[in-house]
Amino acid sequence: MRTLVIGAHRGQLELKQFFRQRESVVFTLLFPIMLMFIFGSIFKNSIAPGVTFSQYFIAGMIASGLVNSGFQQLAIMIPMERDFGTLKRLRGTPMPPLSYFIGKLVVVAVSVTIQVVLLMGFGELFFHLHMPTSGEKWLRLLWLILLGSICSTVLGIAFSALPKNGRGASAIVSPIVIVLQFFSGVFFVFTDLPKWMQQLAAIFPLKWLTQGMRSVFLPDSFAVKEATGSWESGRIFIILLAWAVAGTVLAVKSFRWSNK
């Protein structure tokens, strides 16, 4: 209980910090929207009957939004907090470590929600993105966001142990995310990619998240164009769940309070 209450206070503080850092607000929230407008305006061609590349791309961008808000943000922010002495100071207080992670989760949840709503809204207004057509699809969207955010958060925390310092972090993390986006079918139609790229991407959660988002936002007739000819919702669920569990174990084991 005490852990939750302190976690809520941490979350409040983290949100204040998040929204006061204009660069990071712009980077995490507006950059994906910008990308959506650029790519969406350039590639308007149809890739299947009733499906434009813009729609395909926006589904992928929504999935990427989860990676930006969680993985990318935390993997860069936590090493910076080690540099600044934030973590060392917290370590010296009776704050339960779990409260710190709850605080991070709050920021990720808020930033994911804003991002998904913005992308869906602008997507519908300007690029004919169709809102989910059934209750079942809305439900799927919900668990995709939930599981996706958890994966993204815990993997971001786990990855934060790797960079030596905050300055190095963004240099390592940003390219990884961009390459992963290329491999996972965000910027290109996944099935058009070389086989080895597809197989490599299938190891990581982003590929499954983008596929899941397509199953929510594209007509069911498009399923035959996927790698196995179907949406594979069940498999997506299991793979994301497995990553969430493995990521949590990894995050707990690898977390570092100091730069050594």
């Binding site: 002495g85 207080t93 100091s258």
Partner: protein, 280 residues
Amino acid sequence: MQVAISIRGATKSYDGKSVLQGIDLEIHSGEIFAILGPNGAGKTTLVEILEGYRNRDGGEISVLGSDPDKGSLEWRNRIGIVLQSASDAGDLTVTEVVENFAHYYSKPRTPGTVIDQVGLREKAASKVSTLSGGQRRRLDVALGIIGSPEILFLDEPTTGFDPEARREFWGLIRRLRDEGTTILLTTHYLDEAEELADRVAVLVAGRISEIARPSELGGRNRKGALISWSDASGDHLEESTRPTEFIATLSATFEGEIPNLQVRRPTLEDIYLEMIEGQA
């Protein structure tokens, strides 16, 4: 006398280089204890071991009855730490940070009162990034004492303070001691140790070379006084253990005032420099 911190044979080395070579120390409840020593003597290592930030290699340590290596959150609830350098929370205001930290402790002081005590009232609503170096240190102190700690660790707390701010800070530390807080402080400033500490330890090259009251360190109280004066033949300097007698004799040889007469006891700094000479 109750023991707040007890250290027996503490050792620590990094990459085969010995930093602490068997430290023995007892710090009593309610005293201000200062650790002096040159850079690299092991002050910060020792303090960070006591704070639970680093593990020792050997020896027995008890801080408020617990081994800091296994320090629980309940134990952390009873100690306060002022770190040597932190530059966090720039986008938050002083009040926001202090109030947030108050939530972590079971019996926190009132945030507004603490902000007043460290002299940051006028900056309470300012962002941390706008504080000067000295003001940042005061915020560090505020965060160290917000939880009403039984022991407060201060690692070089007044670095970057102007003389007036240091005086005010000393007053705050004395008030905390008077309220019953045990205070362990490391410092470079000998006047600070002399002003504040009930006892000091001098740490040189990983060993404690002496523990004493500041006025008695290095036999300072038994050392002779230095008497200097001038006459027609030039400046003179004599050391004497009976300065009153010496001056009486001296003054008989002058008509009226002795020119440039000065009687001086060795300062803590003189003694300290003598102690660390050749060892640091």
